[in-house]
Point group: C2
Chain length 139, copies 2
């Protein structure tokens, strides 16, 4: 027999995840104000993998087709990415980093690592490793 009073909001994993994510986003925005976390993820992926079709890029950054389109549109407006039709497959839109996009990622990658470190700072090194290992299994 479970009563509603047994539902402790503050102990629910989803609620805590939301709050931790909020803190992380604040730390990121403070450290890298030029782009958002999702935009930075796109820059990182393109930097690592080279040009990708828009939908493929979305899958590689865990965004659905509608979301990645908006992110790419905004990055393109910022001059950090460009798009061009794929002659091989006329459905596809190939997304690439511009020089400015590549340079921005290059200049901010180290800061990005510090953002991750700040987010995890309340834990000691051993706890951070345990936490990341457990978190990754929940994907």
């Amino acid at each position: 027999m479970i009563k509603p009073t047994d539902y402790a909001l503050d102990d629910q994993v989803g609620y805590i995840l939301r709050r931790v994510t909020q803190r992380h986003l604040t730390i990121f925005a403070e450290a890298i104000p030029e782009v958002t976390t999702t935009q930075f993820a796109v820059l990182a992926r393109l930097s690592q993998r080279g040009p990708l079709s828009q939908n493929h890029l979305g899958r590689e950054t865990s965004m659905d087709a509608a979301t990645i389109k908006g992110v790419v549109d905004r990055l393109t407006k910022l001059g950090l990415t460009t798009t061009k039709p794929d002659p091989e497959d006329r459905r596809r839109l190939t997304v690439s980093l511009t020089d400015a996009g590549a340079r921005l990622f290059y200049e901010r990658a180290e800061t990005g690592l510090r953002v991750s470190a700040s987010t995890l700072a309340p834990l000691n090194t051993e706890e951070q490793a345990s936490f990341l290992a457990l978190l990754a299994r929940l994907v």
Copy 2:
């Protein structure tokens, strides 16, 4: 000397947090389609604390003033909450659960606990406790 190639997107805590949150939201939406996670958090808090002013409710559910307004508006449109001016302080808007809101939370609280359990299901009991303890320290 850090090179951009040292920035492994898949290992960054923010990226993994986003993916775990996505999985959690999917599980929740499947189990409790009537409301969203944030709306359910509001129902839970009101059920636990009784009527609260709108901004206070926002602080108690980790939403800023603009966000909680939208959530309360939608819950009110769904008939799950009501609002009335506070005669003590004419700036304040008191938010309460309706009977339907109280009943819905009562009927879904147990399911909410199962959603949390499903999200954590890839870990064994001991790992779940460790994970939640570490996660809570990152708020």
